[in-house]
């Protein structure tokens, strides 16, 4: 059980500044994901928390105790590595016993061959073996204890790595992309297992991933990292619905959010040459970017699920479609704004249950609707405009 506090963490490798002042609080028992594209510094941040790297500046505290200068073993953290980092020359049992041996056997008893020369430590060794056995049972790998890592499948190795981390009773559990070496099906399975493990153990988890699906499905909160800065730290649903900036909106959600550059005018929003008639409440002449999730764009067509009439003001948009991806239960339509071919558009539409095997055919030109309530509005610098003030302005106009 631990509360983790990072304040103003800086780290450079040579002339490259990898972390530019990260401050983050992780609550006791929380599952926090550090997510970002490769090279954003998320793994470095995790290694700094574990003590494998030292920050150039900033402090790490666990439960209010300063950890910055402590060696990894003194921090009470456990870490699962991307490649698991199991010791290939040891059996599963030996792998899992390693943290116990290091913590509890005196130095001279750890030297090779000392097992026979220190018989008085036999009860301690037996106790550690018992602990390993217990954790192995918990993870359903007790039948593998005598095998070596090379004789295990990817999923089993993953579990051994978890076991080695668990056996030491950590206060903080760190994971560095632990699922990236597993195939897609196993990944989903282990994902649930890790979430279950988190729930059962009640430990604080910090989980690094580049996969937004992992981050969104597993975490209590997600910290989105880009180019060494935290863009936003929020629960998954908030991150999706209320991104604080365009960068966050673009990273979270697949297919990517639609971004329409518009200019506010008295009668509506101007998108290229077309005027989208809409009451909005912005000062005429303001440049804005309207973000619309692909599923917020509404499309009526045979074979697609019926749309309920929208409430509130709607934005009407013409689109030229280029391709249709049929995902079984839904379709994704790719194309561009009819008036501005440079602006890509993506729609996600639910298929109707009656559509069956029929291929969805759509005309080249589509007419879309989007309720303005679902739009996320950014200023020209990519910062999200306060939704409450936007709503107030719209109300005042209505």
């Amino acid at each position: 059980m631990a509360r983790l506090t990072l304040s103003d963490i800086h780290k450079s490798f040579g002339s490259t500044e990898v972390l530019k002042g990260i401050s983050l609080d992780v609550a006791n028992g929380e599952f926090l994901s550090l997510v970002g594209s490769s090279g954003c510094g998320k793994s470095t941040l995790l290694r700094i928390i574990s003590g494998l790297e030292t920050p150039d500046r900033g402090t790490i505290e666990i439960d209010g105790k300063a950890m910055t200068a402590l060696a990894p073993k003194a921090r009470g953290v456990a870490m699962v590595f991307q490649d698991y980092a199991l010791y290939p020359h040891m059996t599963v049992a030996q792998n899992m016993a390693m943290p116990l041996i290091m913590a509890r056997l005196p130095f001279h008893a750890r030297l090779p061959g000392m097992k026979w020369l220190t018989p008085h430590l036999a009860p301690l060794r037996a106790e550690m073996a018992g602990q390993v056995e217990q954790v192995a049972q918990q993870l359903h790998i007790d039948h593998l204890l005598e095998r070596r890592p090379a004789q295990l499948s990817g999923g089993q190795r993953q579990r051994v790595a978890l076991g080695r981390a668990l056996v030491r009773n950590p206060t903080l559990f760190l994971m560095d992309e632990p699922l990236s070496n597993l195939d897609a099906k196993l990944r989903v399975k282990v994902r649930t297992e890790i979430v279950d493990l988190h729930r059962a153990s009640g430990l604080t988890f910090v989980y690094v991933t580049h996969d937004q699906v992992e981050a969104m499905t597993m975490s209590d909160r997600v910290a989105l990292l880009q180019a060494g800065t935290l863009l936003q730290v929020a629960p998954p649903a908030t991150l999706y619905a209320e991104p604080q900036s365009i960068d966050v909106a673009k990273f979270i959600g697949s297919p990517e959010i639609n971004l329409l550059p518009v200019c506010a005018e008295p009668e509506g929003l101007r998108l290229g040459a077309t005027l989208l008639p809409l009451s909005h409440g912005f000062k005429p002449g303001t440049d804005l970017i309207v973000g619309l999730r692909p599923e917020a764009l509404r499309l009526s067509a045979p074979g697609l699920a019926q749309l309920r009439p929208a409430e509130g003001p709607e934005l009407q948009l013409d689109m030229v479609q280029a391709s249709i991806e049929d995902l079984g239960s839904e379709i994704v339509v790719h194309g561009a704004v009819a008036a501005l071919p440079d602006i890509a558009l993506r729609i996600r539409a639910q298929k109707s249950l009656q559509s069956g095997v029929h291929k969805i055919a759509l005309p080249e030109r589509l007419s879309l609707h989007a309720p303005m309530a679902t739009a996320v509005i950014f200023d020209i610098n990519g910062k999200r405009l306060d939704p409450q003030s936007v709503a107030r302005r719209q109300e005042a106009l209505a």
């Binding site: 494998l52 943290p99 750890r110």
Partner: protein, 296 residues
């Protein structure tokens, strides 16, 4: 069905045609001479007589009773016992020390590797000069400490030490590079996992990660160094010729003496077959171990 078998037969013919030249070369260069040596070892063939006859195991029987052979075997084992620990431990320690350096790493690697690139026959003469009992630098240095002078190559008590020292000098760089390659192949994440598990003391790191992960390299180094030890010949031939008083007469040099000084080709062949057998055992150990490593 028949179409398929003719096709397969033709494929097989092509395959045999492809391996034929290499097979021929292996037979000509390795297997045929080895067979010739084995056959000669059962004869009393000498270079000075046209007449020879089959003598069965006579040469091998003679070997067991020959004091020169037991002397050579003893010398070879003493030499190996002096040479092998150094040839293994010094390069290992050097490799670990160099591996951790960022600066000068390549320069140090180069310096230690230089002796490997030099011609040992020529460098042996340099060593003879250094070890000379009257003008040698080493004896001059010993003199400062009030020791010596030692006749390194002329004293039966020191000659094997001196030869082992020269061989060590020539082989350390090579073994060090092998160990360096082995060390580089150990994933960094293992050391990181060890640090998190609490094994951050250098001694723990060595026994928990480095040493076991280095096992395949260690076996290779041990086997090749053993073979090098048992086939000691060139420095003996150049510097001591087995002297003084047969104190540096090692197995391969005795074989050479029997064959090319005393012209007893049959006997020399028998000695060669025994030598081949010993080397074969080492090679078998190496292969067996490598097999086990890849299959586990």
């Amino acid at each position: 069905m028949s179409v398929r078998t003719t096709f397969e037969r033709r494929q097989n013919r092509i395959a045999y045609a492809f391996v034929a030249p290499a097979t021929l070369l292996i037979v000509l260069i390795y297997l045929a001479p080895m067979a010739m040596v084995a056959l000669t070892s059962f004869t009393d063939y000498t270079l000075v007589s046209d007449y020879w006859e089959w003598v069965g195991f006579d040469n091998y029987r003679q070997m067991l009773a020959d004091p020169a052979v037991s002397n050579a075997v003893r010398n070879t084992f003493v030499y190996a016992a002096l040479f092998l620990p150094g040839a293994f431990i010094i390069p290992l320690l050097l490799a670990i020390a160099i591996q951790e350096r960022k600066q000068f790493r390549s320069i140090l690697e180069l310096v230690y590797f230089l002796p490997v690139t030099s011609t040992l026959a020529a460098m042996a003469l340099v060593w003879a000069g250094l070890m000379d009992s009257r003008q040698g630098v080493i004896n001059a240095a010993l003199g400062w400490f009030g020791l010596g002078p030692l006749n390194f190559l002329g004293d039966p008590g020191t000659v094997l030490f001196a030869l082992a020292g020269i061989s060590l000098w020539s082989v350390i760089g090579f073994n060090m590079v092998l160990f360096l390659a082995g060390l580089t192949a150990i994933p960094r994440s293992l050391y990181e996992a060890a640090a998190i598990d609490g094994a951050d003391h250098p001694v723990d790191q060595f026994f928990r990660v480095t040493w076991p992960m280095l096992a395949p390299t260690s076996v290779f180094v041990a086997v090749t160094s053993s073979i090098t030890a048992f086939k000691l010949f060139d420095t003996v031939a150049i510097l001591t010729k087995g002297k003084p008083d047969h104190a540096s007469e090692v197995f391969l040099y005795l074989t050479f003496l029997e064959g090319f000084e005393y012209f007893n080709m049959g006997y020399a062949s028998a000695l060669s077959v025994v030598f081949l057998g010993v080397i074969f055992i080492f090679a078998a150990v190496q292969t067996f171990w490598a097999d086990r490593q890849t299959h586990s």
